[in-house]
C-alpha cells in the first residue's frame, strides 16, 4: 500500500527547514490552492472530452476527430474559444448578483472537490465532520443558480431557476439520508476514516441490502443534483432554451458549464468513496496472490477507476433517458425516494445494532 503522506510531509519538512513557520504555512496553502485548481480544471477537461466520446458512442457517431489526434485537442480549442468570448452584460439585470452567481456555483463545486480522498493521504480537507462539511459545501451551489435566474431579468431564466431550486433542495434530502446510512455503518464522519474502514471490504458488500439501496438512491439523487438528464429541467433546452444560464456568455457561462461537469465528477467520487471503497483495492478473501497483485495498483488509480466507471454509468443515463416533467420530479422524490431512504436508514441501523453486517 502506498501512502501519499510521505510526499506531503516531505514537502512540509522541506518548507519548514528553509523558511519561518508562518511563511511555510502560507506557502503550503498557496501550493495546495494551485494544485487543487489545476486538478479541478484538468478533470473538467477530461470529463468534457469523455462526455463527447461516450455520447458519440451511444449515438453511433465518432465524436470530435478533427482537432488533434482522435480529437484530443478539441476541448482545449473549446476552452480557448470560451476564454476569448465577450462577457455580455444585460440591461436591467441586477448587476452585482448577476456577476456573483457563477462564482458561487464554481466555489461550491471546488470546495466539495477538495473533500475527495484521491489516495491515502492525498486529500485537501479532512476533519472529523467531513461528511457534514461536504454536504454544506455542496448545498450552496443552488444559491448561485437561483441568483443567476433571478438576476438575469429573463422569464425563462426565472422559471429555470425556480425549477432548479425546488429540485436541488428536494434531492439534497435523499443525498443526506444516503450519506447518513453510510455514516451509521461506518460510525464516523471523517472521510479518510470511512475509506480506511473499507480496506477489508467495500461498504457496498459489508452493508449488503441497505447499502445497495442507498447506493442506487444516491446515484439517482446525485444525478438530480447535477441537473443532468433526465433531471435537466432547469436548463431544458426544448422548453426553456437554456434555463437559468440563458443570459450568460463567455467565461461566466463557462463556469456554469465546468461546475456542472465537476459536480458530476464529485457525485461519482463521493459514491465511490462511500460505497465502493474509495482508493482501497478489491480484495477477495482466500485469494492471497490476487490480493497481492491488487496491492500493486496505486490507490489513485483505484479511486479514479471507480469514479470514472460511475461517471460512465451516469452518462449512460444522460444519453438514454428523456426528460422528466416538472411535477414528476417532486413526486419521485417525496413519494418514493424519501420514504424508501428513511426505511433504509432504519434497516441499516438495525443491521448495525444487531451486528448483521459482514
Amino acid at each position: 500500500m502506498y501512502n501519499f503522506e510521505i510526499i506531503t510531509s516531505a514537502i512540509d519538512h522541506f518548507l519548514h527547514s528553509v523558511m519561518p513557520a508562518q511563511l511555510a504555512v502560507i506557502t503550503e496553502c498557496v501550493l495546495i490552492a494551485v494544485c487543487t485548481l489545476v486538478a479541478y480544471v484538468a478533470f473538467a477537461i477530461v470529463m468534457i472530452f469523455m462526455e463527447r466520446k461516450v455520447c458519440a458512442a451511444f449515438q453511433c457517431r465518432l465524436g470530435p476527430t478533427r482537432v488533434g489526434f482522435w480529437g484530443l485537442l478539441q476541448v482545449f480549442a473549446d476552452v480557448f474559444k470560451m476564454l476569448i468570448k465577450e462577457i455580455i452584460s444585460i440591461n436591467n439585470s441586477d448587476s452585482l448578483l448577476y456577476r456573483l452567481a457563477p462564482y458561487l456555483v464554481v466555489l461550491s463545486s471546488i470546495l466539495t472537490f477538495s473533500c475527495l480522498p484521491f489516495d491515502k493521504g492525498l486529500q485537501v480537507l479532512d476533519f472529523n465532520v467531513g461528511v457534514f462539511f461536504l454536504m454544506a459545501a455542496s448545498s450552496f451551489g443552488v444559491l448561485g443558480i437561483l441568483l443567476a435566474g433571478w438576476s438575469s431579468n429573463n422569464k425563462f431564466s426565472m422559471i429555470g431557476a425556480m425549477r432548479s431550486g425546488a429540485q436541488m433542495i428536494s434531492y439534497e434530502l435523499s443525498i443526506g439520508l444516503c450519506m447518513l446510512t453510510m455514516v451509521v455503518l461506518s460510525g464516523t464522519m471523517q472521510i479518510s476514516e470511512i475509506v480506511e474502514q473499507q480496506v477489508d471490504g467495500w461498504f457496498i458488500f459489508k452493508g449488503h441490502l441497505p447499502a445497495v439501496v442507498a447506493f442506487i438512491i444516491y446515484l439517482i439523487a446525485g444525478n438530480a443534483e447535477t441537473n443532468r438528464a433526465p433531471f435537466d429541467l432547469p436548463e431544458a433546452e426544448s422548453e426553456l432554451t437554456a434555463g437559468y444560464h440563458t443570459e450568460y456568455s463567455g467565461m461566466h457561462f463557462g463556469f456554469f458549464y465546468v461546475a456542472e461537469f465537476m459536480n458530476l465528477f464529485i457525485v461519482a467520487g463521493i459514491a465511490s468513496t462511500l460505497f465502493l471503497g474509495g482508493w482501497t483495492p478489491l480484495y477477495i478473501k482466500g485469494f492471497d496472490s490476487f490480493n497481492a497483485i491488487m496491492d500493486y495498483i496505486p490507490g489513485i488509480v483505484w479511486f479514479l477507476g471507480k469514479t470514472f466507471f460511475l461517471i460512465w454509468v451516469l452518462m449512460w443515463f444522460r444519453w438514454t433517458f428523456p426528460r422528466l416533467r416538472v411535477d414528476h420530479v417532486p413526486t419521485l422524490e417525496w413519494k418514493y425516494m424519501v420514504p424508501i431512504g428513511l426505511v433504509n436508514l432504519l434497516i441499516m441501523t438495525i443491521c448495525v445494532v444487531m451486528n448483521w453486517i459482514f
Binding site: P230, T320, P322, R323
Partner: protein, 522 residues
C-alpha cells in the same frame, strides 16, 4: 365542382341543417374568393365523416367596402382560424366571430392582398422598422340594422397585463420553425394561449396567381417540405384532372412508392424530433441515421434530398434508376429491424410513457370539428385517411390497414406514426416488384391551360389531408389557387387542449401534433 350558392339570410340556418341533418361534420376547406364584379365570397367544402359524401357551398356579398358574412365557427371549430385567414386576405368580416384579428399579416398592414384590386405598391406597405405591437384586445362584430358594422366587446382582453406572459417562439427550439405561442402562465401551468402565425408567410397563393402551372409546381414542395412528394402529387393530380390527362400506370406506381417513402421519411423525422423535444437525444440521432437512407434513395432518383421536384404534369420528371427497386427493398428490410430499436430506447421508456400517456387528449368530436386529419385524427379514432376515403393513384389496388387508436393522447399520436411506418413499408413491398413497363410521362402541350371551372384534388400528406383547389378562367395561370394546410387545424386544436397543461406538456403536444410551419403559413 359546382358549389351551391346560398343567400346570406338563409345561410346560418342552412349550414346548421347540413351539419345536424346531413351529418356534414367535417369542414374540409374554407376558401375565400374574390370574383371581382360579382363580389367577394367564401366556398365551403363539407364532408360527412361517416359516408365521405361531399358538399360544396358558396356564399357571396357584393359589398366591397364592408363585406360581411355570417360565421360558421360555432359549427366547425376550425373555421375560427380559417375565417381569420379569409379576413386577413380578403377583408371579409365574419359576424359573431369571437376573435376577428388578422392571422398572418401585421395588424398595421394596409389592404387585403388576395383581392383582385389590391395595390401592391411598396409605398403603401413599406418595410416597417418598428416591431409590431401585440394586440391584446379582441373585437367582435355584429350587423346593425342599416347593415353597418358595429364593434362590440372591444375591451375583452385575451391576455391581461398582470399575468406572467412568456413567448414560446418565434425562435424557439421546440416550435420546429417560426411559430409564436404567447402563454399566460400561473407557475408552470398554462392559463391562456394566443397563437401568432405568419412569420414565414411567403404568399404562395398570391404568387401562384401570376405564375404558370408548371412554375407553381416548384412552390408546392416548399409548403410542407416533409411531404414534398405528396403536395406536388396533389397539384399534378388536380391539373391532370382538369385537363383530362390520363397518366400511365408506371407513373402511378412510381408516385405511390415515392409518396410512401416520403411518408416514412416524415414519420422518422417526427419521431426523432419528438424524442428530442422530450430530451432523449440518442433516439433523435437513431431516427436521423435511418432517414438518411431514404434521402439517399431520393437523391439517386430525383436529384434532390429534401425538395425533390419529382412529379410533373402528366408524369414524373425522370424515370427511376435501374437499381431503385433493389435499394428500396434493402431499405425496407433494414427499417423493419430498426423499429424495435426505437421502441426499446424511447417508446417503452417509463419516462416517455409518463410524459405522453393521457397528455393533450383530443376527443373524436374535437378532432372532426377541428378537422385534425392525418395521424392526429387517427389517434383520436377518426378514420380520416384520404387513401381510404377518396382513393387516388393505386391505393385502391394495394392492401393496407388504416391505423386507428382510441385515446387521442400524445402517446397514441406517437404510436400511430410508428405503426404507419410499418404500413407504408407494407405498401411499398407489395408494389415494388410489379412496377409496369411504359412511359414515365405522357406528352403534354407546351403551354398548359386549364379549362374554365373549379377543380379540387386531395392526397394524404404526411401529416394529414392536403388539398388543392383551383379556379381557372382558362388562362395560363390560375385565377385562384388554394392549398389546404395540414397544420392549421392542428394549431387551432391547440387552443383547446393546452389549457391547464404545463409548459413541458406544450412541448410534448406540439411535438406529437406534428405540424410544419411553412405549411401553416404558406
Amino acid at each position: 365542382m359546382n358549389p351551391i350558392f346560398i343567400d346570406i339570410k338563409e345561410f346560418p340556418q342552412r349550414m346548421q341543417e347540413y351539419k345536424d341533418l346531413k351529418g356534414m361534420d367535417f369542414l374540409r376547406e374554407l376558401i375565400g374568393m374574390d370574383w371581382g364584379e360579382e363580389g367577394l365570397g367564401v366556398i365551403y367544402i363539407l364532408e360527412n365523416s361517416d359516408t365521405h359524401e361531399n358538399l360544396e357551398i358558396a356564399i357571396k356579398t357584393t359589398d366591397r367596402e364592408h363585406p360581411t358574412l355570417p360565421t360558421v365557427c360555432h359549427l366547425w371549430s376550425v373555421a375560427e382560424l380559417y375565417e381569420r385567414e379569409v379576413y386577413d386576405f380578403f377583408g371579409i368580416h365574419f359576424t359573431d366571430h369571437p376573435d376577428m384579428r388578422r392571422l398572418f399579416l401585421r395588424n398595421d398592414w394596409v389592404g387585403y392582398p388576395l383581392r383582385k384590386d389590391y395595390d401592391e405598391s411598396e409605398a403603401i406597405n413599406p418595410v416597417r422598422m418598428e416591431s409590431e405591437i401585440t394586440e391584446d384586445v379582441q373585437r367582435e362584430y355584429e350587423i346593425k340594422e342599416e347593415a353597418e358594422l358595429k364593434k362590440i366587446n372591444a375591451q375583452t382582453n385575451r391576455i391581461s397585463g398582470d399575468q406572467y406572459v412568456i413567448n414560446i417562439g418565434p425562435q424557439h427550439p421546440a416550435t420546429h420553425g417560426v411559430l409564436r405561442f404567447r402563454l399566460a402562465l400561473e407557475g408552470e401551468e398554462i392559463r391562456k394561449i394566443d397563437i401568432h402565425c405568419g412569420y414565414i408567410h411567403r404568399g404562395i397563393e398570391k404568387m401562384s396567381e401570376k405564375l404558370t402551372y408548371p412554375q407553381i409546381l416548384g412552390l408546392t414542395d416548399r409548403l410542407d417540405y416533409l411531404s414534398a412528394h405528396q403536395n406536388r402529387h396533389a397539384l399534378c393530380m388536380c391539373i391532370e384532372k382538369a385537363m383530362g390527362i390520363e397518366v400511365t400506370d408506371r407513373t402511378q406506381y412510381i408516385r405511390t412508392i415515392m409518396d410512401e417513402l416520403q411518408r416514412i421519411d416524415s414519420h422518422l423525422l417526427f419521431l426523432s424530433c419528438a424524442a428530442m423535444d422530450l430530451g432523449a437525444i440518442t433516439a433523435f440521432i437513431y431516427g436521423f441515421r435511418d432517414r438518411e437512407k431514404i434521402l439517399d434513395i431520393f437523391e439517386e432518383v430525383t436529384g434532390g434530398r429534401l425538395i425533390q421536384n419529382y412529379n410533373t404534369i402528366g408524369g414524373v420528371q425522370a424515370d427511376i434508376t435501374p437499381g431503385f427497386a433493389k435499394k428500396v427493398k434493402e431499405y425496407c428490410e433494414y427499417q423493419k429491424s430498426k423499429i424495435k430499436e426505437y421502441n426499446d430506447v424511447f417508446t417503452n421508456n417509463i419516462i416517455t410513457q409518463l410524459r405522453m400517456k393521457g397528455v393533450g387528449r383530443i376527443t373524436l368530436d374535437d378532432a372532426i370539428s377541428y378537422g385534425c386529419t392525418g395521424g392526429t385524427g387517427r389517434a383520436s379514432g377518426w378514420a380520416c385517411d384520404v387513401r381510404k376515403r377518396h382513393p387516388y393513384a393505386i391505393y385502391d389496388k394495394v392492401e393496407f390497414k388504416e391505423i386507428i387508436y382510441k385515446r387521442g393522447d400524445c402517446y397514441d399520436r406517437f404510436k400511430v406514426r410508428i405503426d404507419e411506418i410499418k404500413e407504408s413499408i407494407h405498401i411499398i413491398e407489395q408494389i415494388i416488384d410489379n412496377i409496369p413497363e411504359g412511359d414515365y410521362k405522357v406528352k403534354t402541350k407546351p403551354i398548359i391551360r386549364i379549362p374554365e371551372g373549379q377543380y379540387t384534388a386531395a392526397v394524404e400528406g404526411s401529416r394529414g389531408e392536403f388539398g388543392v383547389f383551383i379556379e381557372s378562367h382558362g388562362e395560363k395561370s390560375p385565377y385562384r389557387i388554394k392549398f389546404r394546410p395540414m397544420g392549421l387545424p392542428l394549431i387551432a386544436a391547440m387552443h383547446k387542449i393546452l389549457k391547464g397543461t404545463k409548459i413541458a406538456d406544450l412541448i410534448a403536444i406540439g411535438a406529437t401534433l406534428d405540424y410544419v410551419i411553412p405549411d401553416i403559413d404558406r
